[in-house]
């Protein structure tokens, strides 16, 4: 699906976002909104959900720092987990497959980009994403999400969020490199006793029915679900074939049953 843009393919670029280094400062959220000129949103009131007043990724929020106050148990003490969520730039991207207009493309950086001048706001991509990333902007009627700062990359800069991150919790670079950094990071975390450490978005993510890995990966120190990430994400459209067949089959069954019943009635009349 990679389209030629008339110049060299730089290879897949992506993020490695590390929950164990995040201090929850939200500089990524602000840098993203500032560079991409996204408006503030939210309902202007305290959410009272820890320090998370952003809530979720959305059409005008392309980075979202989640705050999880993990209660103390016998196994683990109280912890305050933080993670900056973002579009995963999937290897098999549900949104792009669902897009009927071709507005969603894969760039030369292997990132998933929604072309705002082509998007007609049909919203098919919204349920096609297993992570709930693309959202319809009620104001302009189109879908928006993280662009991996495509304009900055073209200009030789890193994405705004990675540039702003003070603790290198957000790394930007070639996906193969980030993957090996992530894997060794998980190894060293496990050595330090973080048994639940994992690299979310490694190639095995979601199994064979999955999305084949993420270009935006995450180093986690607890179960993915705790961070609102599905443990085994799969593409909804992978199930449309079997679902269609099943529907067809059950339709046929009902038709046969109906026909049989009709015939029985007729026979009774005879």
């Amino acid at each position: 699906m990679t389209r030629s843009f008339g110049h060299e393919h730089p290879g897949a670029m992506g993020f490695l976002t590390d929950a164990t280094l995040c201090i929850g400062c939200k500089a990524c959220e602000v840098a993203c909104k500032q560079w991409n000129e996204l408006p503030a949103d939210g309902d202007a009131a305290l959410s009272a959900r820890s320090y998370d007043n952003t809530g979720d990724l959305g059409a005008t929020t392309w980075r979202h720092v989640a705050f999880i106050e993990r209660v103390a148990t016998d196994e683990a003490p109280f912890a305050w987990l933080m993670l900056s969520d973002v579009c995963k730039h999937c290897v098999h991207a549900g949104c792009m497959e669902a897009c009927p207009t071709g507005a969603i493309v894969r760039t030369e950086f292997d990132s998933i980009f929604i072309q705002p001048d082509i998007c007609n706001g049909c919203g098919y991509c919204v349920p096609a994403c297993p992570f709930g990333v693309p959202q319809l902007d009620q104001d302009d009627g189109r879908v928006h999400k993280c662009t991996l700062c495509y304009d900055r990359l073209r200009g030789g800069l890193q994405p705004a969020c990675a540039t702003a991150c003070p603790t290198d919790s957000i790394l930007f670079g070639p996906v193969t490199e980030l993957r090996s950094i992530g894997r060794s990071r998980v190894e060293s975390l496990k050595e330090r006793g973080v048994q639940k450490a994992s690299l979310y978005g490694d190639t095995s993510l979601g199994g064979t029915n999955g999305i084949g890995g993420l270009n935006a990966m995450f180093v986690l120190n607890d179960e993915p679900e705790l961070f609102n990430l599905p443990a085994a994400p799969s593409l909804p459209q992978r199930t449309t074939g079997p679902a269609f067949l099943a529907t067809l089959l059950s339709g046929a069954c009902f038709a046969l049953l109906g026909a049989a019943a009709f015939r029985a009635t007729k026979r009774g009349e005879d």
């Binding site: 503030a40 106050e69 103390a72 987990l81």
Partner: protein, 857 residues
């Protein structure tokens, strides 16, 4: 600042942020570093990634705790007991660095016979004068000193000149009953792990974990750094808390060494700069004391006699003072008129920010310039501050937005409730638009004494201008206005040398100002290359001696430089003094000049070259050998031995025992906060700091002792998402949405007791008033068991106000005016309060209608 200054010689951080990465243990205490210094915190994270241990001691589990290996919840205001217990354990268990302590501190000095400690006098030191609520410090003098014992503690900020005494009797065995080491040992004997449990709420197991983390990482091979911030300074015992930290770090031999020392984190971007070239009432640039009417400061000769020391660095004070006067008054400053000394105003008392609040309220101050400050929200006892503002004749507010200090007269809570009526407020308010950082040239002096230049990136919008433009223009207009006046106050204005060139847009050329700060040889007009070239004969002019060397040539501004190299990041900006990155770094070598260890080598004596070399600029005379011993009658730093690293002080040694520079005692002593729910467990007869400055006023009532109506501890704090009183964040949609509304944090047990759900409305009150805000119920706060009682702590961010996009009740309506006697800083981090569920009507007052997010975008 006096906390470090009195004991080490300078008030600044002893180390720099990048060097935290070399720490084997970082203890963050009295600071929420990850939230308030996130960029510097990256080096703490780096230290942890390199295998170091990070400990956070704080009443709340914050974003700093989230990244720490160990978080110890502590009762706000009890820090000195924990530090004291660490000091005591380090001494009693022999865990201190004897060689360091013996050579680099005044541990061996003998304290005079007359001295009596708090143990003997029920929590007071000798010399207490009940009626004046002050100490006569003469009995604190060390034995055998020249008898220059100052009968009064000197002005708060000029401590460096006084601390350290020479020619004292010593006992190198550290066993004499009156030697500083033994006095210290006895003083802290009652600070035990058990007292930590009873006073701080930290159990002995946790204490042992903390102690072993620190001591295992304070050896010749390893070092520990302490990071503190305003959560230590904002106490009535703040100076002594910081002093206790300095004592601990000196005993452990960590100061002056890489990965060691004390990182004083300054609250704002250039708070360090605003004390170096001060906005404080009692200092002149470079920590020269402001002439004072109650000191022998009548003439320049008197003043210099008072501030100049015979030994130690302040021997050079005349060169710095005369050069400063030459910078102020130019050719009008001559030897015959005391270089214009008489034009300087003399202070008559305490003009700290807290006192200003009362003076406005009482009509003493009638006009106010408000630049980079929002007292209607950020002022202590903000209700009183707003009343003070409403009694001014005129008020100039320069800001980027219409902050609360500019619209309190029409939008403030007092107007809403009807106690202030706009038509009855006489204050004429001038709101002038101010340029922000990216819109103007200038410099920041950050927390590590590092000066970094910035150029204007975009022009300011509309009529906004820089503060420099405003002050420059105001000065010129005032000089014109008073040109024909012959009053003394006009003479002060007329005498000023005010010739700054302006750029085409009217802004003054700030690099020309920097040149004046750096200093010049007046005959040639050439810049001086360092403070060593300054003279007391009027041949040099210098605006701030500690910054000398920042502009060694007219075309070289070292604050612009961005070529960092090596472990000290030399080449990136310019650090005062003389670009030294770790202060007192002579102590990074043993007394004989060799590094304590290969791993922690920083500065060492090179025998062949006969100089100190290493990774940093030596904070020591570069050719003075370790074995140097001064001859009789030596002055300045030549009177210091070759193993005396603390060169600002008279004897070149750090002061474990401070004989006269502090107002509340030579050794740190725990007193409860001015408002505390519990008695003083350690000194039952002395609840509070006996010399803390009370500001008595009907508008500033304090809680009666242990009043059961206010059973909970209240502490104020800041969030990453907002900047101080909110002028630069609550009005910005992208920042406002991140923390859109005021709140208070409380533990779930207290929430249950009061009957509040997470997100509900609560009323918090102190004797000053009551505010209504949202409740954030969280496990990050836990009730503490203090002396058999359960104590709840309530956390309250103080950013919010009624203006801007992110609004909320004003936390400082609850705080009081009361000061640390040395630094004159208020107590914002520990007081008492009550909490109840808010009624519906109160809720409606607090909810301030709807807000338009992108208003003004």
């Amino acid at each position: 600042m006096p906390g470090l200054g009195a004991r080490l010689g300078r008030g600044g951080a002893t180390t720099f942020l990048q060097n935290l990465a070399e720490s084997d243990c970082v203890v963050v205490m009295g600071s929420n570093m990850a939230e308030n210094h996130p960029v510097g915190f990256r080096f703490v994270v780096e230290a942890r990634e390199r295998g170091g241990t990070v400990v956070h001691v704080d009443p709340r589990f914050t974003r700093t705790s989230a990244l720490a290996d160990l978080h110890l919840p502590i009762r706000a205001g009890s820090d000195l007991v924990l530090l004291g217990a660490l000091i005591s354990a380090v001494i009693e268990r022999g865990l201190f660095n004897r060689e360091y302590v013996l050579h680099y501190t005044n541990a061996a000095a003998l304290v005079g016979d007359a001295f009596q400690d708090t143990d003997d006098l029920h929590g007071l030191f000798s010399g207490y004068r009940e009626g004046e609520r002050a100490y006569d410090t003469s009995s604190w003098a060390l034995a055998g000193n020249r008898g220059s014992g100052h009968s009064q503690a000197i002005d708060a900020e000029s401590y460096e000149q006084r601390a350290g005494e020479t020619n004292v009797e010593e006992d190198p065995s550290l066993t004499h009953l009156r030697c500083v080491f033994q006095v210290l040992r006895r003083h802290f004997a009652r600070y035990t792990p058990e007292s930590v449990q009873r006073v701080c709420g930290i159990d002995p197991d946790q204490f042992e974990r903390l102690l072993s983390a620190i001591t295992a990482n304070s050896t010749p091979e390893r070092t520990t750094t302490f990071c503190y911030s305003v959560a230590w300074t904002q106490h009535t015992t703040g100076t002594q808390m910081i002093g206790a930290c300095a004592i601990l770090q000196l005993l452990l031999g960590n100061i002056g060494r890489p990965g060691g020392g004390i990182m004083a984190l300054r609250g704002h971007a250039t708070i360090q700069g605003s004390t170096d070239i001060p906005t404080l009432f009692n200092l002149l640039p470079g920590y020269l004391p402001m002439p004072a009417a109650d000191r022998p400061h009548a003439s320049l000769a008197n003043y210099l006699a008072d501030v100049t020391t015979e030994t130690g660095w302040w021997h050079h004070a005349p060169a710095y003072m005369v050069s400063l006067l030459k910078a102020y008054y130019g050719e009008r400053a001559t030897p015959n008129n005391g270089f214009g000394y008489g034009w300087l105003p003399q202070i008559e008392g305490d003009y700290s920010f807290q006192q200003m609040t009362l003076m406005m309220d009482r009509g003493v101050i009638q006009g106010l310039f408000c630049m980079g400050q929002n007292p209607a929200v950020g002022g202590l006892n903000a209700k009183l501050a707003r009343r003070g503002l409403s009694r001014l004749r005129w008020l100039v507010v320069r800001d980027a937005f219409e902050i609360e200090s500019a619209n309190f007269w029409k939008d403030g809570p007092e107007v809403a409730e009807g106690s202030l009526r706009p038509e009855e407020i006489p204050t004429e308010v001038f709101l002038l638009p101010a340029a922000l950082t990216a819109e103007k040239d200038g410099s920041y002096t950050n927390t590590q004494r590092l000066i970094q230049w910035h150029d204007r990136a975009v022009p300011p919008p509309g009529e906004a201008t820089s503060e420099a433009w405003f002050v420059h223009r105001l000065a010129r207009l005032l000089r014109e206005r008073y040109a024909d006046d012959d009053s003394p106050r006009a003479a002060q204005l007329q005498a000023l040398e005010w010739t700054y060139p302006t750029l085409p847009d009217g802004e003054p050329n700030l690099e020309r100002v920097l040149l004046e700060i750096n200093g010049v040889h007046l005959a040639s007009g050439q810049p001086v290359t360092g403070f060593g070239e300054l003279r007391d004969d009027g041949s040099t002019a210098c605006g701030c001696w500690i910054y000398s060397g920042i502009m060694p040539a007219t075309d070289r501004n070292r604050a612009r430089e961005r070529a960092a190299s090596g472990r000290a990041s030399l080449g990136w900006g310019y650090a005062w003094p003389a670009d030294r990155r770790i202060l007192y770094n002579r102590a990074s070598a043993r007394p004989d000049g060799t590094p304590w260890s290969e791993r922690k080598a920083w500065i060492w004596w090179d025998i062949e070259r006969g100089r100190w070399i290493g990774h940093d600029i030596p904070d020591f005379p570069s050719a003075k050998p370790p074995e140097y011993r001064p001859g009789a009658g030596a002055t300045g730093v030549t009177a210091h031995r070759g193993d005396a690293p603390f060169l600002m002080l008279a004897d070149g040694r750090a002061q474990l025992f401070v004989a006269s520079a502090l107002r509340d005692g030579p050794l740190p002593t725990h007193y409860e906060p001015w408002e505390s729910p519990v008695a003083n467990e350690l000194y039952p007869d002395q609840l509070r700091n006996p010399v803390a400055r009370e500001l008595s006023d009907p508008g500033n009532p304090y809680q009666p002792l242990q009043d059961p109506r206010f059973p909970h501890v209240l502490t104020t704090y800041r969030l990453t998402e907002h900047h101080t009183a909110g002028g630069m964040s609550r009005f910005v949609p992208w920042l406002a949405e991140l923390q859109p509304e005021g709140f208070a944090e409380l533990d779930s047990v207290l929430a249950d007791r009061v009957g509040i759900d997470n997100g509900g409305w609560i009323a918090i009150s102190t004797p000053r008033g009551e505010i209504v805000t949202r409740a954030l119920v969280t496990d990050r706060l836990q009730p503490l068991s203090i002396g058999g009682r359960t104590i709840h702590q309530v956390g309250l961010p103080w950013h919010f106000g009624f203006g801007g996009i992110a609004t909320g009740a004003i936390a400082n309506d609850l705080t009081s005016l009361v000061e640390d006697p040395n630094s004159l800083i208020h107590e914002g981090k520990a007081m008492t309060c009550s909490v109840r569920r808010a009624s519906f009507s109160a809720t409606r007052v607090a909810m301030d209608g709807t807000r338009d997010w992108n208003e003004g975008r």
